[in-house]
């Protein structure tokens, strides 16, 4: 592909990021990665304390693209039917009519996913993986652009069911928003003094452009040694001491795709090792299952991935 197209992709990114930054201050990195997830057709898991702007972020993204946005608040008594939809009998027509659940949308914010029972969690995750829902024998397809941002509170809180390992694997990346810097927080106060900027946010990108962007991302070239590098990283997670379950090939694919997205954002038609190193932790860390003994020794998945990165010579 010639350079011109990649400049176009770079432009899309810039526009989206700038738009979102009107609403979300001080989260440049997170915005970049979320957009990478969007562009690479992966789903995002945000783990953070309450009130750090997760919903606002999802809303801002939805508004910037002018697509359908739905939000599900997960509670312990949530049933799968509340997510997928339910058939209701219509007496006038003597037919069962299927009412779509919130999953039939473009951007879905699944808030506090770890508060629902495992059965309900699976319902959502299966539909994310398959791209379709099967209810009462019929198969219904989800939207072409279906992007899930799931949030969860840090696992120590009571009343939570941490996502099982197999399900964590379905998310391309896990990100953390965190609290912003002092100056930014002051800016937030000033901005929201009268009204929330999100209400005045207008779309800057169309759905078609996003779909084209996704296509472009898939065309980004990956050099052979970089492929080897990615595979080496993921392989190492399986051998590392203290890890009882390493990352799967799904992780490698996710790593590749998000790196490709970052390359487009950086106006390049090829990825470099910087891109890989940039998002390795976000893509891989949440898929790892630590030995119980290691987790109580201060080892975190993040530190494991960082150690692995430091132990492999990088192709330059």
């Amino acid at each position: 592909m010639d350079e011109l197209n990649y400049q176009w992709g770079h432009g899309i990114f810039k526009r989206l990021a700038a738009n979102m930054e009107i609403v979300i201050k001080g989260q440049k990195e997170c915005i970049r990665y979320i957009l990478a997830g969007l562009a690479s057709s992966g789903h995002i898991l945000l783990e953070d304390n309450p009130g750090t702007g997760k919903t606002t972020l999802a809303k801002a993204l939805a508004k910037s693209i002018d697509v359908d946005f739905k939000r599900i608040q997960f509670t312990p008594d949530l049933l799968p039917s509340d997510i997928l939809g339910v058939s209701i009998f219509d007496p006038s027509q003597k037919l069962f009519k299927f009412h779509n659940g919130p999953v039939f949308t473009n951007i879905l914010l699944a808030d506090e996913i770890n508060r629902a029972s495992p059965r309900t969690q699976s319902a959502l995750l299966e539909s994310m993986a398959e791209g379709q829902v099967s209810i009462d024998g019929t198969i219904l397809n989800l939207e072409k652009m279906f992007f899930v941002i799931a949030t969860q509170n840090p696992v120590e809180s009571s009343g939570t069911y941490p996502l099982p390992e197999a399900q964590m694997d379905r998310f391309a990346m896990q990100l953390k928003l965190g609290y912003v810097a002092r100056e930014q927080e002051v800016a937030i106060l000033s901005e929201q003094q009268e009204k929330h900027p999100i209400h005045t946010l207008s779309p800057c990108v169309t759905l078609k452009e996003i779909l084209d962007l996704r296509f472009m991302v898939n065309q980004v070239f990956i050099a052979k040694e970089l492929k080897l590098y990615m595979v080496d990283i993921v392989n190492k997670t399986r051998e590392q001491i203290g890890i009882s379950l390493g990352a799967s090939p799904r992780a490698t694919i996710a790593l590749m795709k998000t790196a490709q997205a970052l390359a487009v954002f950086d106006n390049q038609s090829f990825i470099t090792s910087d891109h890989i190193q940039e998002i390795a932790v976000s893509v891989i860390a949440h898929r790892l299952v630590l030995d119980p003994q290691s987790s109580f020794s201060g080892v975190t998945p993040k530190s494991v991935v960082e150690d692995i990165l430091r132990s492999i010579p990088v192709p330059v």
Partner: protein, 658 residues
């Protein structure tokens, strides 16, 4: 803290050179330094190190036993001398182990096995510097003279201190501190040495009186009251080449010239004698013919002693002494002798080498004058010739005096001597000798007081003459007709009295003889054996232990990978950008193998003081990335430009450290 390369080898060689075991030291040094060149090293467990430590302890115990039997007085020095060899197995184990250190638990295993103490952290200890310290302490025992030892020790310390110097201080400040230290050290050690010598001299003078063979002052028993106690202890065994049966041989120790308050003094100092081609040979006086030969064995409790010699000594040979000094009275003092000392004397038998008489040899102390003058008058010694004076005095003492071991003191006379001369007319050899010497002096014949031993007792056990403590004797030396002669006026009964005592001491003599033979064996043959063969017995011990350990598969060999950990991957591409990396690394900014170029530049960026340089590098990096990772790569034109840009920037790429 690890000793640097070649440090251990060098210090072991230094040790070998100083204590004169250079061949052993070369072998040890080679073994230690070869550890740096072997491809594979061993994995030792703490229990393995413990075994090596046990071997060292065995050596250590062995050295202790050997040194205590050979030369107990010098045991500590011998142990110190061989310390590096004793601990050689342990340091070798450390050098050949993979870690290069010893787990501290190795030293505790034996004691704590039952308790399985795991509160003791396993600390990795490096004993190389400790071992080097042992080598230095050991080299010091060689006691080499001259400044070389100090200089070399200082060099080793400085080499070692260089490793641990604080990175904070500049090189020059450190050198300055070292310089001050060396200066202080030099001044300090000289000060210590001089103080010690002064203290030594002072102590010697203070205790001089208690040395029996003190050539400077002789305590006589003249002033004592009671009975002279003489010990049967055999102190000397002599062989005369020209031995005649039943002949009494006179052996001389020291001569004195001044008499005061019952003691004789000598002011003559000692001068060093140089030894000959052979370390055991000393030329005392020029060789003349005819000469006779005497061999003696002397047991000394101290390491310095005055030798008991016949008159007219020419040479002393086959003697294990470090230094030999003689004085004008022909007293010979030897230093650093073993407990049983042998010497062979070649002598003339006459007193031709004694110093010529001086004024001292004619002086009579004032308080003795009345007694002496009385005798002179009595015997009319001032009116006859010198030879007649001698005869008269001899006759006088022989007829009018008796030999007795009783000591009457001075009683009602002015001095004990006058008591002897006037009243008791009976005493032991010291009385006779003192009186004779003073009489001769007053009679204007220069005279001296001599002490020594009379060898008269023949022992069947060894076929030699034995000299006991009670054979100590004193006599006079007179200068007559231009030469000195021995002039003994003690009545010969003293020898008979000695002979009576012989029977009672047969058993103790027998044991004494046994002891003598054993010592002789130890000192002469034993030492030789140990020196030559002993060491070669110990080395195979260590070797077999080592082989046994290996065979029982307890020590694993680990092949060291030839590459270092931070190995950079071989770059498949040939981008000229790699030259930039090389140049920057050369200037002291290494890149970790996991760092990409961007993150590396970000890390070291603040050392670049040139903004433009930064930007150019970034641009070039982009081109490089495109060259390496993109599908299309660079077009020909772009590649040429890239090459020239790189060349350009390489010339200007000097990064100063801030």
């Amino acid at each position: 803290m690890k000793a640097p390369r070649l440090f251990l080898g060098a210090i072991v060689l230094f040790w070998g050179w100083q204590v004169q075991t250079i061949w052993i030291a070369i072998a040890l040094a080679l073994i230690l330094e070869s550890s740096h060149m072997v491809k594979s090293k061993f994995v030792f467990k703490p229990s393995d190190f413990n075994k090596f430590f046990d071997v060292c302890m065995v050596f250590f115990a062995g050295i202790i036993v050997i040194s205590l039997t050979l030369e107990p007085e010098k045991a500590i020095l011998i142990i110190l001398k061989w310390l590096p060899l004793v601990f050689f197995p342990l340091i070798t184990a450390q050098e050949f182990s993979v870690n290069g250190t010893i787990d501290s638990r190795a030293f505790f295993i034996v004691q704590r096995k039952r308790l399985k103490a795991d509160i003791y952290d396993s600390k990795e200890i490096d004993i190389s510097f400790l071992y080097s310290l042992f080598c230095i302490l050991s080299s010091a025992t060689a006691n080499s003279k001259g400044p070389l030892f100090f200089v070399i020790v200082v060099l080793f310390f400085v080499w070692g201190l260089w490793q641990v110097r604080s990175r904070r201080v500049s090189f020059f400040l450190w050198m300055f501190c070292i310089f001050i230290t060396i200066l202080l050290g030099y001044v300090g050690h000289n000060a210590i040495r001089l103080t010690r010598i002064k203290i030594n001299q002072w102590m010697m003078e203070y205790y001089a009186g208690y040395y029996a063979d003190n050539p400077f002052k002789n305590f006589t028993a003249l002033g004592e009251i009671g009975r002279l106690k003489l010990s049967d202890k055999i102190i000397l065994r002599v062989w005369f080449q020209d031995y005649i049966e039943d002949k009494t041989y006179r052996l001389h120790t020291s001569s004195y010239t001044g008499f005061s308050k019952s003691n004789w003094f000598s002011g003559y100092g000692f001068k060093s004698v140089e030894n000959g081609h052979d370390k055991t040979f000393w030329q005392i006086n020029p060789l003349v013919n005819p000469r006779k030969k005497m061999t003696a064995y002397f047991r000394s409790s101290r390491e310095n002693a005055v030798l008991t010699l016949p008159s007219g000594v020419l040479t002393i040979s086959e003697i294990k002494a470090l230094a030999l000094k003689k004085n004008a009275m022909q007293s010979v003092r030897v230093e650093k002798i073993p407990s049983l000392i042998k010497y062979v004397v070649s002598y003339t038998g006459n007193l031709s080498y004694d110093a010529p008489p001086s004024d001292m040899d004619l002086q009579v102390p004032g308080n003795e004058l009345p007694g002496i003058e009385k005798i002179i008058e009595e015997l009319s010694l001032d009116k006859i010739s010198d030879q007649e004076i001698l005869n008269t005095i001899r006759n006088y003492f022989l007829t009018e005096y008796t030999y007795s071991l009783d000591l009457k003191g001075k009683q009602d006379q002015a001095t004990p001597l006058q008591n002897f001369l006037n009243s008791t007319k009976s005493g032991h050899c010291e009385f006779f000798a003192t009186a004779t010497t003073l009489l001769l002096r007053k009679a204007k014949i220069p005279a001296r007081y001599a002490t020594g031993y009379m060898a008269h007792e023949y022992s069947l056990l060894g076929n030699h003459l034995i000299v006991r403590q009670r054979d100590a004797h004193a006599w006079s030396k007179a200068f007559i007709n231009g030469q000195w002669i021995n002039f003994d006026t003690t009545p010969p009964q003293f020898l008979e009295m000695d002979n009576q005592k012989v029977e009672t001491s047969i058993i103790s003599d027998f044991f004494s003889f046994l002891g003598f033979k054993l010592s002789q064996l130890r000192h002469e043959t034993g030492a030789k054996l140990m020196n030559q063969y002993g060491l070669w017995l110990i080395l195979p011990l260590g070797l077999t232990l080592f082989l046994r350990l290996r065979r029982s598969n307890r020590i694993k060999r680990i092949k060291l990978s030839g590459k270092s950990i931070d190995d950079t991957k071989q770059n498949p591409n040939d981008s000229p950008f790699y030259l930039i990396e090389t140049k920057i690394v050369q200037q002291g900014f290494p890149r970790h193998s996991y760092e990409t170029y961007s993150s590396w530049f970000a890390r070291i960026m603040h050392h670049f003081d040139n903004e433009n340089l930064n930007n150019e590098l970034q641009i070039l990096l982009q081109v490089h990335n495109r060259y390496c990772f993109s599908s299309s790569g660079l077009k020909k034109v772009e590649k040429i430009k890239f090459n020239s840009d790189i060349k350009n920037i390489l010339e200007r790429l000097i990064i100063a450290r801030i």
